[in-house]
């Protein structure tokens, strides 16, 4: 019998009731992350039916999606800076958490931040866990060898009430990345290249395991960037086997086991990596040595080219033509030199310390182009504090960028941080969909280095060639 994959081990460990031809499996959830946008209707369902939150101890709440990125000391200050509907939704999360006994990292908490940034920071995200959240970028947590995926609000209600989900077992896709990454090529470039290769539907119905020596050489922040965008390839989840890098990151964090329990956890986690003879439903290989900094040119993350490349020829497909029209770009033209109006560094994809340090290294002692507006939004309040202790905020502000409070911000423009219609934003976020960053806004996805270099030049730039 073939060995088990990492995914299969985690899946099997959480089966409460096995699936049959007629019924899905009942899968136990170890960590349920919740935020203000996708939970109000779920809590309303609990109230309607007189149900409680089964495991508040396994539920962690924060506010991130529609929160202002200007300082808000407390909920009572919210009306000054947030639109009324967003303020009401944020207050409702606070009252629901109080009523149902769920721990909330709200305004005033040093631990507030983007839900996919604080889970790992607190050590709540751990190898072998099942992690869900009403947010598709829950795939981020797979970087720790957790099985983590986004769910809808009805399913949020299911987990609140039963700590379980009804699920059919997905298939597996191994993506092997081997070779030495060229200088200046980042985790963001790896995942954009992967999505370009397999397409935005290449992972549908599958859990991806990212494998190979290149993946093993990445730090935890970089692994999170990769797993984060698994959903942009349509995958159910993305996972990376835990190793010493994982354990070193987790050691000592608030929610991880301590003392003898830590040793026990380590022993358990070390059994999780896929067996050498594990078989995957599909496999794909990427040679890291051939990769370059990548940028998107269209309106989905699979429409991606090297930053030195040309906009591809029209395939004759109506959706392709529509995308280029929307972006105001032409086939056959280099993407380098395309004027940018806005630069956004942030989101659950690229808002951690490594991202901010790389951005600062490029901006240090320089000024962003005159017509460019640049927003730098840390992933959490604790990242904000750390960045400020390193003086990064001074570099950003001296360069002419705005340094903000943590949150999802301009990734989806729910909180008022938007890009104006027709403007082009080079963004370290994860989605370049039509209108994602504001009605009529145009988005180019890129790494923090590419975004920072483009901010300095006022157009899409190759950070490897600017001095």
């Amino acid at each position: 019998m073939a060995g088990k994959s990492l995914f299969r081990k985690v899946w099997d460990n959480h089966i409460v009731v096995p699936e049959t031809a007629d019924t899905p499996a009942v899968l136990f959830i170890d960590l349920h992350l919740i935020h203000e946008v996708t939970t109000p209707q779920a809590f309303a369902l609990l109230k309607e039916r007189g149900l409680t939150v089964r495991r508040p101890d396994l539920t962690l709440a924060t506010m991130d999606h529609s929160t202002p990125t200007v300082p808000v000391a407390s909920l009572s200050d919210l009306d000054l800076v947030a639109e009324p509907a967003a303020a009401a939704q944020i207050r409702q999360l606070a009252s629901n958490c109080r009523e149902f006994g769920v721990e909330l990292h709200g305004f005033g908490s040093d631990e507030r931040g983007i839900v996919h940034v604080i889970g790992p920071e607190l050590g709540a995200t751990q190898p072998g866990k099942t992690v869900v959240c009403g947010d598709s970028h829950t795939s981020t947590h797979g970087a720790f060898g957790a099985l983590s995926f986004g769910i809808g609000t009805t399913e949020v209600g299911h987990v609140l009430a039963t700590q379980c989900l009804l699920q059919r077992r997905p298939k597996t896709l191994a993506i092997n990345v081997n070779g030495t990454l060229p200088t200046g090529v980042s985790a963001k470039d790896i995942i954009l290249a992967i999505i370009g290769r397999i397409g935005v539907d290449g992972g549908v119905g599958h859990v991806i395991e990212y494998r190979g020596d290149t993946i093993g050489s990445l730090d935890m922040e970089q692994r999170m960037t990769i797993c984060n965008m698994s959903i942009e390839a349509g995958a159910r989840a993305g996972m990376i086997a835990p190793d010493d890098t994982t354990y070193d990151y987790l050691a000592g964090r608030a929610a991880v086991p301590k003392g003898a329990a830590w040793q026990e956890a380590l022993a358990r986690w070390q059994t999780l990596p896929s067996d050498p003879d594990a078989v995957f439903d599909k496999e794909c290989s990427i040679d890291a040595a051939t990769l370059q900094p990548m940028v998107t040119f269209g309106t989905n993350p699979g429409m991606v080219i090297p930053v030195t490349g040309e906009i591809p020829a029209n395939t004759g497909d109506g959706s392709f033509r529509r995308a280029l029209d929307y972006m105001g770009l032409e086939s056959g033209r280099p993407i380098l030199g395309t004027p940018v109006d806005v630069v956004f560094v942030g989101s659950c994809t690229n808002s951690r310390m490594g991202d901010l340090r790389q951005t600062a290294a490029i901006l240090e002692g320089k000024k962003i182009a005159e017509n460019v507006r640049m927003l730098i939004v840390p992933g959490s309040q604790s990242i904000k504090a750390q960045a400020e202790s390193e003086g990064l905020h001074e570099i950003f502000q001296a360069a002419g960028a705005q340094w903000r409070e943590s949150g999802c911000s301009m990734c989806l423009g729910m909180n008022g941080d938007t890009v104006a219609s027709g403007q082009l934003c080079i963004s370290t976020s994860n989605r370049n969909f039509e209108g994602r960053q504001g009605i009529g806004a145009r988005t180019i996805l890129a790494s923090p280095q590419t975004a920072a270099a483009s901010a300095l030049c006022g157009h899409v730039a190759d950070h490897r060639t600017i001095g």
Partner: protein, 203 residues
């Protein structure tokens, strides 16, 4: 939830592939705390101009789209954000089924919990449906069949099967819940004892 077994409807067609949930229901409408009224925001950036007026030639706004319960969309419908507001919007607008060649996983899961049937068809059938907007189809959930009664043989591409009944995949459990009009939480709650045993075993 309304029970669904079989219904007939004309189709409305959005041929673009990879229509993401940001298009189906833009993020600025997600500050709601209820499920009500999401139909007004459905495809908002495609349906309305910058002054909030309906754009006449957008397929959903044409007179012949009035009352259509079946949306035919390009490949990989519903990708992107997990927002359940997308199927809420589609259902509130009046849709009971979406036909495509593939659906994003989270969107499909969300749809099945809200009385919206994601119907996967093969490429030739899909192309025929894209080429024939407004055709009357029958969705038979009990038989897992999509019937295309309006098709005339001369309009068919050669590769299309001759039968007018096309089977579509849907898992038994979701189909049962849709036909009975029940949600899935009740089923999960019945497993409380098994969940308790699992928790004790792991503690």
């Amino acid at each position: 939830m309304e029970k669904i077994t079989r219904f007939r409807s004309r189709t409305v067609v959005l041929p673009q592939s990879d229509i993401d949930t940001d298009q189906i229901l833009p993020a600025r409408f997600l500050t709601t705390t209820t499920r009500a009224g999401m139909g007004d925001a459905l495809f908002a950036d495609w349906r309305y101009d910058e002054h909030g007026r309906l754009i006449g030639d957008f397929p959903l706004n044409r007179p012949e789209a009035e009352g259509c319960q079946v949306l035919v969309a390009g490949n990989n419908f519903g990708c992107g954000s997990s927002r359940e507001h997308a199927p809420w919007g589609l259902v509130d607008y009046g849709f009971k089924a979406v036909i495509s060649t593939a659906f994003a996983d989270i969107f499909r899961n969300n749809s099945l919990k809200n009385g919206l049937i994601p119907i996967i068809v093969d490429q030739p059938t899909h192309q025929w449906l894209l080429d024939h907007p407004g055709v009357e189809v029958e969705v038979d959930l009990e038989q897992r069949q999509l019937r295309l009664p309006g098709r005339s043989p001369e309009s068919l591409p050669e590769s299309l099967p001759e039968t007018e009944m096309i089977e579509f995949p849907i898992d038994n459990f979701s189909r049962y819940c849709l036909m009975e009009g029940i949600d899935q939480l009740g089923y999960l709650l019945k497993h409380s004892d098994a969940i308790s045993r699992f928790e004790q075993h792991r503690a």
